[in-house]
Symmetry: C2
């Protein structure tokens, strides 16, 4: 699941708990931008009580640079905590919608592949098929790879959400 | 799916296509923050070719204020387009992980409820159970409501991703 590059940089998965207020996201994004780090995927959604938001980010970069970013983010007002969950014992899931141009005669073949991946159709027309699939990023990548031989109209992924295995909080 | 408030404000679903570069997210978040709008949920992930990112945001606010924000976002460098998809003919999906403190004797009951919702277990210990569920926001809300009688340890949602129905691009 972790992409390891020749120069030692790696895809990192960060999790943060922040106050659900205007401006928090802008300040966090600024910390990354100032250091020239691109946030690859980002998921922000309110926690159960609505006062806080959970952010899950993936970023590719050298570990020492990311350490600095995490330290800075932890000092921001309205950030409760931020940590690197890479290599932790976590469940990682992602959702993808993928729309393909599929004529009726190819439909059976496409649905067979889908079944193997546990993907299911969420929209169907005479010329198109939209599938929903969930799983870890590797599985989604593999499914996209197989769909490439059809005509992919568009796809959208949620980015990763993570949760610690076992009874403890993440 | 759209929360309509007494004063006419409504939860809006916005979609944007942006260049996959550092700083873009910070600038967009700034536009919302300056106008005091809180982004409720946000999903950012790279498109297929990796040069662009798709952003899906939900925000609660008066429509005229949001119109202004969309206009401003559309003027930003590195923003290809941004539009309001509320009330469009779209597929809306979300993923949630929910961890509950469940002793063995309650497990059957919890799994029965899960089956009804199409949720499935992704982590299991003697004291806890983590379920994954996908669907529209109403379905996820209903599932959380039912899980409240158990001891919810934590939950995380991806926020919405959207795709236009039919063969056309969103």
């Amino acid at each position: 699941m972790n992409q390891m590059m020749a120069n030692g940089t790696q895809t990192h998965t960060l999790s943060a708990l922040v106050a659900n207020k205007p401006g928090v996201l802008a300040r966090i994004a600024q910390v990354f931008a100032r250091r020239g780090f691109n946030i690859d995927s980002l998921v922000v959604s309110p926690t159960r009580d609505g006062n806080f938001s959970r952010m899950t980010m993936t970023a590719l970069g050298d570990p020492s640079g990311l350490d600095q970013i995490i330290k800075q983010v932890n000092k921001l007002v309205d950030v409760i905590h931020c940590s690197d969950l890479t290599d932790q014992n976590i469940v990682v899931k992602e959702l993808m919608l993928i729309k393909m141009r599929i004529e009726a005669e190819l439909r059976t073949e496409v649905l067979q592949v889908a079944e193997h991946f546990g993907a299911r159709s969420v929209d169907l027309t005479d010329e198109s098929l939209t599938m929903m699939i969930t799983g870890n990023s590797d599985k989604l990548d593999a499914y996209v790879e197989l769909c490439k031989k059809y005509n992919i109209i568009e796809l959208v992924r949620t980015g990763k959400v993570v949760m610690a295995r076992g009874p403890k909080e993440t």
